[in-house]
Symmetry: C2
Amino acid sequence: MEATAPTLSRKAQIDQTATALFRTRGFAATSMRELAEALGLEAGSLYSHIKSKQELLHRICFRLADDFFAGFAAATHDAAEPAAVQLRRAIESHVRVLTQDVAASAVFLHEWRHLSEPARTEFLALRERYEAGFRLLIQRGIEQNDLRTPDVAFATLTLLASLNWLPSWYKPDGKLPPSEIAHRLADQLLLGLANS
Amino acid sequence: MEATAPTLSRKAQIDQTATALFRTRGFAATSMRELAEALGLEAGSLYSHIKSKQELLHRICFRLADDFFAGFAAATHDAAEPAAVQLRRAIESHVRVLTQDVAASAVFLHEWRHLSEPARTEFLALRERYEAGFRLLIQRGIEQNDLRTPDVAFATLTLLASLNWLPSWYKPDGKLPPSEIAHRLADQLLLGLANS
DNA sequence: CCTACCGATCGGTAGG
DNA sequence: CCTACCGATCGGTAGG
């Protein structure tokens, strides 16, 4: 019956617990013994479910990357829309992915550098491609006269930076629902803090 | 005569090299043997200059904290100025500290959680106090009718987030001088991306 | 999934 | 600043 608790496969349980530990203690500072203990088993037993510690990090980082790309694609699917509207949708999608699994997002944002090669290089290429998507939206928004900025690349980095700080303070049980957070972030970034 | 290279004390050399390693590889993943090798000596020899690995992290993090506070105090010294002007100065000061030593800034921003207690708690209290300073400026800017935002705490976090992403892409030899970067960041954050 | 273990490496110290 | 070393812990494996 197990009414409330969702039944996760052992592998999914390991992923989830590893994500939480990597987030709070960092990848390098988390030992496989800690992870095993958090799951209530012995260190050696982990290896009947996973190949290595590195594999855990790899799966976390690349699953998130997939989610970000899927969300971006959906947000910009309607080519008839103004770029500024697509940008707003893309911001909301980005926030949705971040808030859906804050722990995994934090690992994605801060622990990717511990990926071993060639995964690390591959990861950076994906991230660059994702940023390029936002850059293009801002560029087109300027051409359509809806946006303005002296430096598109600069503006893109700043925008994503504001969004990516979210996992460091967002609490899933907070009073603001993710959609409202996304809305406010988009407003603040697009309209600024200055009055008129 | 050692014309160009500044003569650093051995301890300062250790700090500097440790900062660079902690930044690129992370605190936990950096071994004292790596650090020693980068300095051209044996691991054991480090301990005639420092007490522990932890001491290195502590010094880096708290020196930066001092710099941020000193800059903020100078930026907001003139109580006769409108809060919005003080805020702009504080943003510029923050960017100046970040760009002055990007490696140390990155360690300050990402490796502080490896501080052992009670330093870690003390550090978080300092950070909270610093954020409160920005929050107050934004609050007063609203009262003086120069700023607007539905949520001051939210706006403060977003603003600092945008600034704090800088060490992850800033290159000291880039074409934009720090003052210009500060100016653009302040503009983008205060005025937004939207046209009119 | 456990027991028992491997070689490697860790932060740090003693003695010079 | 080096040599030589300490106990502890690391990721991972063999065999069951």
